[in-house]
Subunit: 340 residues, 2 copies
DNA sequence: GACTGGCACTCGTTACAGTCGAGTGCCAGG
DNA sequence: CCTGGCACTCGACTGTAACGAGTGCCAGTC
């Protein structure tokens, strides 16, 4: 039941050794590599208890022990301190993010940086539209019956969509429409736009009404309902590290999951509390990812959160290190966004 | 030297069998599954010749034969007809592409469609900026010293970038700048803009000169020099089909290559002639992709080419089928673009 | 009561030998 | 030029044995 300090120390040692060597760890090796101050036999007794409690298990009868998902969970919650970043890592982060010229650039650099530092698969969600505000809406005439609708959000995101108008609209009307739309929607949070868009249609002068109705439909569809979220991914090649031992030999399910934006969003997205989240093994809801762990956190300018980012790797990963890196990168990105 | 018809038929049979079974094919199995009208012994003699000429090889002394890259090449060039698409495939293509609302949407659907139909990794290049023309350039004030520059190309691509101005610029000046820029650049091919941009600066009224200079720099940088190309990727999970036999056991180099946009662009990009291109094994220039083949072609509205698309897979792939699919998808996408 | 050394036991790994069979190359004959 | 026959090669598979890392248990010690 109660795990005394030494048993916890044994668990910690097992996790650390297994993470670094990738091999089941036995009692003898443990006492040699850690100053536990007791004999292998004692450690074996402790291990037996840990196994009974479900924190570790034996792959084969005559093999050493390996942490279970539950063991990693205990390790993360109670046995590890977040590793401070090395100066080299700090420098890498700073160097990597200077010179980013636009949001795309920031996101791409960030995701590559994360992948490189953690040597895992990195995922970065673009600033969520739902948490952005409208900075400006632009209407660009393409032909007499076609407009390009461009929305610029305060987070730097730019969304566009082609609008097929019900009939020809003269240039002056476009100017009027642009003005009306911006007056109503500028600085509004996107999540709060639906009633405003509704009002736009109702308040529009009669001659602009049909066009405005079309625009309103597209606005709601594109900006609120539709694929409003975007994701950047990097470092998939890191999945092949550790031979085929991680992920029980098949990358297939992992790669499939990584192709589904919805899955990634669920994993790293809705980070409601601003704290770092760790999902270990089957704690996540996707069968394909039962052999994987995810470390994620929210980011945004100042204390607000506009999106999530994180890394995905084998359950056998360096949690303290990855947590530290993910947090640090999120903080830097937040600062970068705050400057704009 | 000269390969008579029967030897070619043998090679064709070997390629087809190997592609479908994934196992080295022996002389006996060959005569059973194909009506060659000769005995296994005769086939063996032919095989000996084919091997001597480098078209096939034996993995082990006591195993059947496997095509070499050179063998596939001959097969593709002279022994195969492009497979007609099945009605089901045609329908899939049509169904998949209706309802695309903007360029992003088209590209994403296309790449997923390709991956699904060919069961390979699919790559689609966004319409190249170099081959696009400017439809409109928009300047959106973000603050008094910041502008968002948005370019809309005739291909539907939209690029934006934040511009830090040398000093505050009143709204009227922005209007003037917008007008000047659009007068000069609208409908210009992007590859031909540099002299025009230069002229813009020289012809700008003195009070707008510094701002215009800044804008010109950003314009050239973003639209012409910088990462002007974009790529969409799908179906990486397909790499794991065929166990670990393809790609000699390690996906690592392939995954690494797929993360490099530059590599992908070289593979499927510059399709100068509008014909379909097939790169087999080490015919491509990247060591990481020596075990892979690429089938690619250009696409664009009408007969012009604005970008490339294709699939990547093991050298042991269904060339006739993939070539047919890639062509068909490219044609459909071209038609779709032509409508806009 | 907690820890330790010793010991028997388990079981995966490795090495080796032997068999099997698919596939080949070669050759003599049609 | 093609064919049937035959000896040969060599990887795949199987079974056996030795090895050793690691364990659980127990009796003894502090």
């Amino acid at each position: 039941m109660g795990l005394d300090d030494r048993k916890l120390a044994v668990l910690r040692a097992i996790v650390e050794d297994y993470v670094s060597t990738q091999e089941p760890v036995g009692s003898k090796a443990l006492v040699e590599r850690h100053q536990l101050g007791v004999s292998p036999a004692t450690v074996r007794n402790d291990m037996a208890v840990l196994e009974e409690e479900g924190y570790i298990r034996q792959p084969h009868t005559s093999a050493g022990r390996v942490p279970t998902d539950r063991g990693y969970r205990l390790f993360v919650d109670r046995l590890s301190r977040v590793k401070p970043l090395s100066p080299a890592e700090r420098r890498a982060i700073e160097r990597f993010l200077v010179g980013a010229v636009d949001l795309d650039d920031v996101v791409h650099r960030t995701v590559r940086l994360l992948a490189q530092l953690t040597r895992q698969v990195a995922v970065v969600q673009y600033p969520s539209l739902a948490r952005s505000s409208v900075r400006h809406l632009e209407l660009v005439p393409i032909s007499t019956t076609r407009l390009m609708l461009v929305m610029i959000a305060d987070t730097g995101r730019v969304e566009q969509r082609l609008v097929e108008l019900p009939g020809p609209v003269p240039a002056d009307d476009v100017t009027d429409l642009r003005r009306l739309i911006n007056e109503k929607l500028a600085n509004a949070r996107l999540s709060e736009t639906p009633p405003l868009v509704q009002a736009l249609v109702e308040e529009a002068p009669p001659e602009l009404r049909p066009t405005m109705t079309t625009l309103a439909t597209v606005l709601l569809e594109t900006l609120v309902e539709r694929h409003e979220e975007r994701i950047a991914l990097a470092g998939t090649a890191n999945l092949t590290r550790g031979g085929l031992l991680d992920f029980q030999g098949s990358l297939r399910p992992i790669l499939e999951a990584l192709e589904e934006e919805v899955v990634l969003l669920k994993l790293i997205g809705e980070t409601e509390p601003s704290t770092t989240r760790v999902l270990i093994g089957d704690e996540n809801e996707f069968d394909n990812l039962r052999a994987a762990s995810v470390v994620s956190t929210g980011y945004g300018p100042g204390t607000t959160i506009v999106g999530g980012l994180g890394v995905l790797g084998p359950t056998r990963m360096d949690y303290p290190g990855n947590i530290a890196t993910v947090r640090a990168v999120a903080r830097y990105v937040g600062e970068l966004l705050a400057q704009n």
